[in-house]
C-alpha cells in the first residue's frame, strides 16, 4: 500500500481540532471548573425525580428514532433514486421543517393535534418524527444516491425478489448511513428542548429541559453543569459506539448510481404514491402555519402582513421589531455559519477517513456539541471569553460560530460515508497511472467530496437560519435572528403580534425552501458534470 505524506492528517485535522478545542472544549471545561464542587456529583445525581426524567428522555428518544427511520425510509429512497416532476420541491418540503424553529412548528402542531393529545408523549413523538425525517432523507439519501445500480440490477437478473434485494443488498450497503442517521436523530430527540416544552406539557421534561430550568430558573448552574455532564457521557458512549459500527460496516463501492425516471408501471406507481403521501404529511402543518398569519378576528385578512414593516401598529404603539433587518441578520449569519461548517467539516471528514483508526476521536469530538446542552456552551463562552483582548461576549460572530458547532457534524455525517465507500483500488489505479500518493488522494478523495459538500452547505445554512437554543443563551447587541424575533412576537398578548409572528415564520419557511431548492439544483448540475467527466 502506497503511503501518503505523514503531514497530511495533521494538516487536515489542525483547524477542526483547534476550533473544537477553543470554542467548545475550553468553554465547557472552564464552566465545569468554575462551578463544580466536591459534593456536586452526588448532589446532582441524588435529586428526586431525576430517574424519571432520565427514563422519559431515553424511551421517547428511542421510540422517536425508530419511527423516524421507518417513516423516512421511503422518501429517502424516492428522492435519491428517482427523477420526477417537483422532485426539488418535495426535497425542500421535507427539509424545511427540520430548520424551522421549534416554537413555530410546535404552535402549528398544537393547532393540528386533537386536544386529548396536548401535553402527551405521543404529541412529542409525532413532532419529532416530522422534524427529523429530513435527517434520514439527507443522510441515508446521500449514501443511497451513490449505491451502484448494477449490483441491484444483477441481483434482480439472478431472480431475487425486490424484498430480497432490499434485505440482502441494499440494507447491508446502506448500513453506515443508517447508523449515522439514527445516531443523529437519537441525539436530537434525546436533547430535544422546544418540542418537549411546547407539546410534552409540564409532566414530561427531558434532561435538556431540566438542565435549562436549573440554570435559568433556579440559578443552579452547578447542578445544571453536572446534569449536562451526565447527558454528555450517555451521548458520548452512544456516538462512540455508533461511529465504530459505521466504520466497521462501511464497504467500498465501485461504480455509482444515478437518479432516473421511473420506468416500469410498478415504479411509476411507487413514485406517485410515495411522493403524494410524503407531500401530504409535510405540507399540512406548514399550511396551518401560513394560514395563521392571515387569520385575524375570525376572518381572513392581510393586515398582519401589511403592518409587518411599519414601525407603528397603532398610533403611538410599536413593537420595535424589524422583520426585514432580522431576515438580513439571519441570512448573513447563515452564510458565515455555512462557510465555517463546510470548511471545517470537509477538512475533518478528509482527516477522519485518511487517519482511519484514530480518526474516530475527531469524529466523536465534533459530534459532542450536539449532545451538550446549549445553556452549558452559552454560559461557558460567557465566562471564558471575558477579558480583553479576548472579550468576545457580545461579538456578532459568536452566534454564527455557535450555529457552526451544531451544523458541522451534519457536514461530516454527509461526507464521511461517501469517502469511506471509495475503494482503495481507485487510488491504486491512479498510482499505477503515475500519480504520487498525494496526487492520487487529491484526484480520488477530494473530488468525491464536492457533491455531498454542496448538499450539506445548504443544510448547514438552513440549520443556522432556524437555530434558536444556542442563540438565546448568547448575548446579542441589537441583532436579532428570525427565530428570536418570531419567538418574541409569539410570546406576547395581542392578535396582531401573533399573526405577524406567523407571517415571519412563513418568510423563514420560504427562505429555507429556496435555499434548499437552489442547492439541490446546484448538486444536480455538479452531478451532471461529474457523469460526463467519467
Amino acid at each position: 500500500m502506497n503511503r501518503r505524506p505523514w503531514w497530511l492528517v495533521p494538516a487536515l485535522a489542525g483547524a477542526p481540532v483547534a476550533g473544537l478545542a477553543l470554542f467548545y472544549l475550553l468553554p465547557v471545561a472552564t464552566l465545569l471548573a468554575r462551578v463544580v464542587q466536591p459534593g456536586s456529583v452526588s448532589d446532582a445525581l441524588g435529586t428526586p425525580g431525576l430517574r424519571r426524567v432520565l427514563w422519559f428522555t431515553l424511551w421517547q428518544a428511542l421510540v422517536s428514532t425508530a419511527l423516524t427511520m421507518m417513516v423516512g425510509f421511503a422518501p429517502a429512497y424516492l428522492l435519491a433514486r428517482f427523477r420526477f416532476r417537483f422532485r426539488g420541491a418535495l426535497l425542500a418540503m421535507v427539509t424545511v421543517p427540520f430548520m424551522l424553529p421549534t416554537v413555530v412548528v410546535g404552535a402549528a402542531f398544537l393547532a393540528l393535534l386533537p386536544n386529548s393529545w396536548h401535553g402527551s408523549a405521543r404529541a412529542v413523538i409525532v413532532a419529532h418524527v416530522f422534524f427529523n425525517i429530513a435527517v434520514v432523507v439527507r443522510l441515508v439519501g446521500a449514501m443511497w444516491a451513490v449505491l451502484p445500480t448494477d449490483l441491484t440490477a444483477a441481483a434482480r437478473t439472478l431472480g431475487a425478489k425486490p424484498s430480497q434485494v432490499l434485505r440482502f443488498i441494499v440494507l447491508p450497503l446502506l448500513r453506515p448511513a443508517l447508523y449515522a442517521a439514527s445516531t443523529v436523530v437519537f441525539l436530537f430527540t434525546f436533547t430535544s428542548f422546544g418540542a418537549v416544552k411546547l407539546l410534552g406539557g409540564a409532566a414530561n421534561p427531558t434532561l435538556e429541559v431540566e438542565i435549562a430550568r436549573r440554570a435559568t430558573q433556579l440559578g443552579d448552574v452547578d447542578g445544571a453543569a453536572m446534569l449536562s455532564l451526565v447527558q454528555l457521557l450517555i451521548l458520548g458512549v452512544v456516538v462512540w459506539w455508533s461511529s465504530r459500527w459505521q466504520r466497521r460496516s462501511s464497504l467500498h463501492l465501485t461504480g455509482g448510481g444515478t437518479a432516473r425516471v421511473a420506468r416500469s408501471r410498478h415504479e411509476r406507481h411507487f413514485v406517485a404514491v410515495a411522493s403524494g403521501l410524503t407531500a401530504a404529511i409535510m405540507v399540512v402543518p406548514l399550511v396551518v402555519l401560513v394560514s395563521r398569519s392571515i387569520r385575524l378576528g375570525g376572518a381572513w385578512s392581510l393586515n398582519a402582513w401589511r403592518t409587518l414593516g411599519t414601525s407603528e401598529v397603532r398610533p403611538g404603539v410599536s413593537l420595535g421589531i424589524d422583520p426585514l433587518a432580522s431576515l438580513l441578520t439571519s441570512l448573513r449569519f447563515a452564510v458565515v455559519a455555512a462557510a465555517i461548517s463546510v470548511a471545517i467539516g470537509a477538512l475533518a471528514s478528509l482527516a477522519i477517513s485518511a487517519a482511519r483508526r484514530h480518526g474516530s476521536l475527531l469524529d466523536v469530538g465534533l459530534m459532542l456539541p450536539l449532545g451538550t446542552s446549549a445553556v452549558t456552551i452559552g454560559l461557558g463562552m460567557l465566562i471564558t471569553f471575558d477579558t480583553a483582548p479576548f472579550d468576545w461576549r457580545a461579538s456578532w460572530w459568536l452566534i454564527p460560530l455557535g450555529h457552526a458547532l451544531v451544523a458541522t457534524p451534519f457536514v461530516v455525517r454527509a461526507v464521511l460515508p461517501v469517502l469511506r465507500s471509495i475503494p482503495a483500488d481507485q487510488r491504486a489505479a491512479a498510482a499505477t497511472l503515475g500519480a504520487s500518493p498525494l496526487r492520487a488522494w487529491l484526484a480520488v478523495d477530494v473530488r468525491r467530496v464536492a457533491r455531498p459538500l454542496a448538499a450539506s452547505a445548504g443544510l448547514a445554512a438552513a440549520i443556522s437560519l432556524g437555530e434558536f437554543g444556542a442563540t438565546t443563551f448568547l448575548t446579542r447587541a441589537g441583532r436579532e435572528t428570525m427565530p428570536i424575533t418570531i419567538g418574541r412576537l409569539l410570546g406576547r398578548a395581542g392578535e396582531i403580534p401573533r399573526a405577524q409572528g406567523f407571517a415571519l415564520a412563513t418568510i423563514l419557511l420560504v427562505t429555507c425552501g429556496l435555499i434548499i431548492g437552489s442547492v439541490s439544483r446546484a448538486v444536480r448540475a455538479d452531478g451532471g458534470v461529474h457523469a460526463r467527466g467519467e
Binding site: 468554575r34 416554537v103 404552535a107 398544537l110 393547532a111 386536544n115 396536548h118 401535553g119 416544552k197 411546547l198 406539557g201 409540564a202 421534561p205 429541559v209 440554570a215 435559568t216 430558573q217 433556579l218 440559578g219 443552579d220 448552574v221 395563521r292 387569520r295 385575524l296 378576528g297 375570525g298 385578512s301 393586515n303 414601525s311 401598529v313 397603532r314 403611538g316 404603539v317 410599536s318 413593537l319 420595535g320 421589531i321 424589524d322 454560559l379 460567557l382 465566562i383 471575558d386 461576549r393 438565546t472 443563551f473 448575548t475 446579542r476 447587541a477 441589537g478 428570536i484 418574541r488 410570546g491 406576547r492 398578548a493 395581542g494 392578535e495 396582531i496 403580534p497 401573533r498 399573526a499
Partner: protein, 336 residues
Amino acid sequence: MRKVLLTGLAAGLLLVACADDGGGTATPAPAAVTLVAYDSFPTKDTPMNDAIAAFTADTGIVVNIVTAGDTGTMVTKAVLTAGNPEGDVMWGVDNTLLSAATDGNVFEGEPSEVDFGDVCVNYDIAWFAERGVEPPTTMDDLLRPRYKDLLVVQNPATSSPGLAFLMATIAHTGEDDWQQFWTDLRANGVEVVDSWDSAYYERFSGAAGSAGDKPLVVSYGSSPPAEVVFADPPRDDAPTGVVGSTCFRQIEYVGVLRGTKHPDEAARLTSFLLSEPFQKELPLTLFVYPANPSVALPEVFTKFAVVPTNPFTFDPETIAANRQQWQDQWTEIVLR
C-alpha cells in the same frame, strides 16, 4: 511579483498613515454605556427607544442595548460575570429573582424599582355571558364545581407567570394550607401547560385568534388592554377580564452593575430610566406600570387593565428561600 509587493507595501503604509491621522485629530469619543436587558426589551423603533435617543442627544451618552435572554437567564449570566459585567446597567430583574442577583453581588449599590405588573386569572367575557354563568371573583371560587375543568395554568417550574400564580395561592392560603388548595384545584380539573404562550393562545378561549376551549387562564393584569390595542379589526371593548383578587405583584428593578467602567454615565442612565420622559412610554411598549407615581397612564390602561388594590406578594428573601422547595412540592402534588 516585485510590483505586487511594492503595491501591497504602499497600500499598507497608506493605511497606517490614515489610521494615525484619524487617531491624531479626532475629538474624544462620547462616553458610551451598555444597557443589559431581557429579550422582550425593544432595541429600536419604539417610543421607548426614541426617549433613549433624546437622552443621548441631551447628554452625549450613547446607549447600547444588549439582550441577554429571558429574565432568569439574564440573572444567571449576571451572577456568573459579577464584577466583570457584560454591560453597565441591568434592566428588568424582578422580585422573584432579585435575591439571586443581590446574593450574587451583581449590583453596585441598591437597585431601584422601575416598573410593576400583576399576574392574575383572566376570563373570557363572552364565554361566561353566553352561558349565563358569573365569572369567579375570588381565589376560592376556583375550587367550586361550577368552575370545574375551566382553568389553565403554567408550570411554576418553567414559567414565570406560573410561579407568580403559585405564590399568589400560597400567600392566599398561608404556608400550611397551600398544598391542600392545589390538591383540590387538581381534583377540580386544573390543566397545566409549560409556557404562557401555550396557555394563553392554545388553551384559553378568550384571546383573539385563540384555538382553546378553557375560559380561565393565568396571564397578566395588562392582557386585556393588549387585546384591545392589538385587535384587528380594531375594537373598543376588551374580550377578556381580570379576576382582581387572584393577582400577584411582580416588580422589576434597574441597577448599576458592579465593575462598570463608567459609573457616572451608568448612574445618569439609571436616573433617566426612572424619570417621567422614559417612564411614560412603558405601558404601551412593555405593558407594565411605571414605578414613577407621577406618570399618567394611557386611557386604554385606565379603562381595561385591573390594578388590584391588595395584590399578593412576598419579599424577595422569602421567595429566594422557598422557591425551589415550593416548585418541587407543587410538582409532586399536581403532576404526579
